[in-house]
Amino acid sequence: MKSSVITFPGSNCDRDMDVALTKFGFKNKMVWHNDQELPKSDLIVLPGGFSYGDYLRCGSMASKSKIMNSVINFAKSGGLVMGICNGFQILVEAGLVPGVLLRNKYLQFICKNVHVKIDNKENTFFKNLDKKVLEFHIAHNEGNYFCTNDQLKEIEDNNQIAIYYCDQNGNTNDQINPNGSIKNIAGILNKEKNVLGMMPHPERMIDESLSGEDGSIFFKNLLNNIK
């Protein structure tokens, strides 16, 4: 299976993502933001980081870069696209997933492990996963998911909420919400379920001695689903 990770100026999780994808069997290529064409890929990943120094709004400048036209076309034709953290912010700015990511409610940069509940397994990203709660890592300043009431109704009706922040038993409530996201939303899918944006970093949980292994579960399952 072939994957491509896009590097924008200021991306800093692109190599971590490359290590993770390669570890679980993807043939990964790094793609520069100023390129026009994507290599043939089964999965495109927009990595975390601080593209363009978060100027204007997080992800807004990167969403207008040259390669994004190809990424948007790839997504519109049904290709799998995953945006992590800053990649999620780029996806919302590009209009590939609904909503926006605001400054964290308590104005703090949050860097910690969190649990997420997988709500929707009817998509290529989470299908066949035998765990309902995974432990991932978050590190962000603007992860407070927001959308209008009309948008919220639409994403709920279309079953587009992918993951929620929760405790280790899968309970979602305000106390466990790290950043003020509406309904504890940590990740969202597009209507067609081929584009996933999420704030947590699965690529930081692929080594038991360093962190944890729930990212490994996610990537192994993803590879099997794409095969």
Binding site: L56, R57, S60, K64, E93, G99, V100, L102, R103, N104, K105, Y106, L107, N144, F146, C147, T148, Q151, G180
Partner: protein, 80 residues
Amino acid sequence: MKVSAIITLKKDVLDPQGKVIHQALDGMGFNSVNEVRQGKYFEIDVKENDPKKAKDLVEDMCKKLLANLVIENYKIIETQ
């Protein structure tokens, strides 16, 4: 021709930075503040001498890049 635009957060969007600024003002003794909302201001010099066309151009920029219409409103405030 210079065109100025102001981007503000929509009414029902939480503005934590505005809230903190409000608290700071309060602590400094400015006790008559009801609310503070923070926004952005752009001054754009365009190669266009017709005020209407210049304004339309910046309006298009606001819609496509400068503002995120899910959470923000824009207002063209002056052309000179």
